[in-house]
Symmetry: C2
Subunit: 458 residues, 2 copies
């Protein structure tokens, strides 16, 4: 089995396992108590906090442990917004933040706040200019991830932090995907991370609030973790989380280089050996272990099943693998193809042979899925130099497959009108046009769903 | 070492440890994923939910796992209040609930809600009549613990649940202290519990919301745990929590009887061998493992240190061991002595010899602390048949010690006026009067602090 979904959760690092076992007997008591078991627990907690702060590059009293990265984000965003309530009720996020940030923004909006989503380039990165342009006098908080969880693209955090600092706005950085590789550079104000992304156990997040940043915890709190993370501290897991962070950091530089070469090999190999594929995300400014690509005319869920049968565990941002029937908001914001989407995220230690075997298996798996899907005969009604393809009720990737089948039947300059009520078509038909050198004219409302107009150029 | 603070946190049950180790390798992946590691994690999570539901006595789809008991309470209370917003904005809690419930109530009050605190008898229990009397047409939610965490007194949950049901009000039960011993009887609507109280690992709470109970989760949520507990599930800890719950339940009946005998022995032994002691909490309707007593003229923190040196880990609700300088709200609500307070909570498996050794050591430890504190000479000003004791600036237990020293200097029928600015005096001077058969006349405002009037009867 090759587990290639480290961006969801990394297997437990051996050092985390060892530290967890050792601290189960030492760290179970209440660190607020004065007796010996409590003092031992407190010592473990204090030592972990110091080590974590060193790895993050902050003071120990700026860092608290939360029950997860998600909770760190929820508490951090809400606390920073409440602390800056007097400054205003405007929040900035990038369009490709993790759902925990976007959910926090939704709650803020529901409570009367205003949210600006900064768009990204096709690479998945914001530009410093567009981010800085979103800053307003009433901006209470700005959020930017250190690197994207779906496509691996790194964000210009240090430069955006500088722009925020000049505007007097604190920057919250979701560092979940990058903290295992190194500290986040720049003058950020708040930071969140999640241990199970770097090989620590589940149940541990980090929330850092720099001294001087106004912060007012929301909801009921208690005396634990400076009033910023209520509930009994999970000390054995905290000890394990920090031990594994130090371990992955120690191995980090060499392993980053090795994984970067392997993902580079996948980027090139996929583009070479799979027809009609789009490798997405920034080719240079990217995390070492993540590579993402989308395959035309492929159903993401079926492809994942095929790959699973071949022994590869990967994930997908395609609409057909989600419960919402919409493509990933990240791919949508980037404006790239979402159908047949595959994210490969290599855990540290991934063997070269496994990557080679993946590259050997993938073309056949994609071809197999395409063959299965190849059959549907589109309903076509000819109207002069326009064809109408009725794909109503059909889901990704069928509308694009039907479009591709008929485009040759109209003369160059003619149009194909694709009727579709699938959300993914809105993203995938323009993406197909870009890949094929055809013109996407636009979307028009229709009786049901939308009509997508495509002009044949080639 | 004898660890007698199981009500704070129980050491990890061997079954929890075993299950945790086994599931570290099987349960680390994302249970929302479709590949093999995800499916394995999902199976572990589903099986754990079924087993937990069976132990609680609910349906699996009524139970979610939270990152702690505190989070289960915070989410449960907030969600139930939001779900019943249309019914009204009134919340009932008992005066002796866990701080997580009271903190939730404070937040609700800050948001414009109204809270009724139902008082308790000197035993620590509410009466069904007083609880039922607090129900109003606009009551959105009622909260009652199954048993008290500081004194072990069991609450009449089934009867209160019945009264709530008749009024159409859901009852939220904090079962943190009792769930390891057995399911909570009665027609409650919501329930919360915490794994590390029954020997499970830290990082796992349970929240049960009965079908048909209106519930609207507050704050940002995600697709995990039915939208009621955001963040990556901590599956190894969940598996361990449920395995240990089943294990302690299997041993429960016999162990409960054994511990009840041991705590009964402490209740009797302390009352017999320590002078000027008040054993608090209901002598009959109580948890098997908890016994709490308060010692006149004793500083709780010093006594805890003495006991720690003798190898006993216990906790205290005295003001002198807390950071807030106020006695525990539980002892305050019960109206019992708070000075020199000691809570002994025996973990399952406690050896009889350890309890006997505790009883042998305690009288000397208490006497030692009293001797150290015995010296202060109170400032006394005589005014006819009244003495004024100036205890301003002195903390528990000094004001009571000074009162006890001078009471013999006024004639029977005369009064002593104790000037004190210590919060604990408000509780401890009346308690002393009750223990000594003297009359507590009342409290009057003074230039600084209060004047407590005591009339000598004996």
């Amino acid at each position: 089995m090759s587990y290639f979904d480290a961006a969801s959760a990394a297997p437990l690092h051996p050092m985390a396992r060892q530290a967890l076992l050792a601290s189960l007997d030492e760290g179970w008591a209440d660190p607020a108590r004065l007796y010996r078991e409590g003092r031992r627990a407190r010592m473990l907690l204090d030592a972990s906090r110091e080590a974590a702060a060193e790895a993050v590059g902050c003071r120990p009293d700026e860092l608290v442990f939360t029950p997860s990265g998600t909770r760190a984000v929820h508490s951090g965003v809400a606390g920073a917004l409440a602390g800056r309530r007097r400054a205003g009720r405007h929040l900035i996020v990038s369009a490709v933040e993790h759902s925990s940030v976007l959910h926090s923004a939704e709650v803020f909006e529901a409570e009367g706040g205003t949210v600006t989503q900064v768009p990204v380039l096709r690479s998945g990165a914001v530009t410093v200019e567009s981010y800085a342009g979103a800053l307003r006098p009433d901006t209470a908080l700005a959020c930017l991830q250190s690197a994207n969880h779906e496509v691996g693209t790194e964000q210009p955090v240090a430069e955006v932090a500088e722009a925020c600092r000049e505007a007097g706005v604190p920057l919250f950085v979701d560092a979940a995907q990058s903290l295992g590789w190194g500290p986040v550079e720049g003058n950020w104000s708040l930071l969140a991370a999640s241990a199970h992304k770097w090989g620590g156990p589940s149940g541990v997040g980090l929330l850092v609030v720099r001294k001087g940043v106004r912060f007012a915890p929301r909801g009921p709190s208690d005396e634990r973790e400076s009033g910023r993370a209520a509930g009994f501290e999970n000390i054995p897991a905290i000890v394990a989380a920090v031990a594994s962070l130090r371990a992955v950091r120690a191995e980090g530089a060499a392993e980053a280089e090795r994984l970067r070469e392997l993902t580079g090999r996948i980027r090139a190999g996929v583009a070479r050996s799979v027809p009609d594929v789009e490798v997405v995300g920034d080719a240079e400014r990217r995390l070492p272990g993540i590579v993402t690509f989308s395959c035309l005319y492929v159903d993401g869920e079926t492809l994942l099943h095929e790959l699973d049968r071949e022994g590869f565990s990967v994930s997908s941002g395609s609409s057909c693998t989600s419960s919402t029937l919409t493509p990933s908001h990240v791919l949508t914001a980037m404006g790239v193809l979402s159908e047949g989407n595959v994210r490969v995220s290599l855990p540290p230690g991934t063997a070269e042979e496994d990557v080679e075997r993946f590259l050997a298996v993938l073309p056949g798996a994609v071809a197999g899925v395409r063959e299965k899907l190849g059959a549907p005969t589109p309903t076509v009604v000819t109207r002069a130099d326009e064809l109408v393809v009725d794909s109503l009720g059909k889901l990704c990737p069928i509308p694009v497959i039907e479009l591709a089948k008929v485009i040759g039947q109209v003369p160059v300059g003619g149009t194909v009108r694709v009727l579709s009520d699938d959300e993914a078509a809105r993203l995938d038909i323009p993406a197909w046009c870009q890949m094929r050198g055809q013109e996407y004219v636009g979307e028009e409302p229709a009786d049901r769903g939308s009509a997508h107009l495509v002009r044949r150029l080639l």
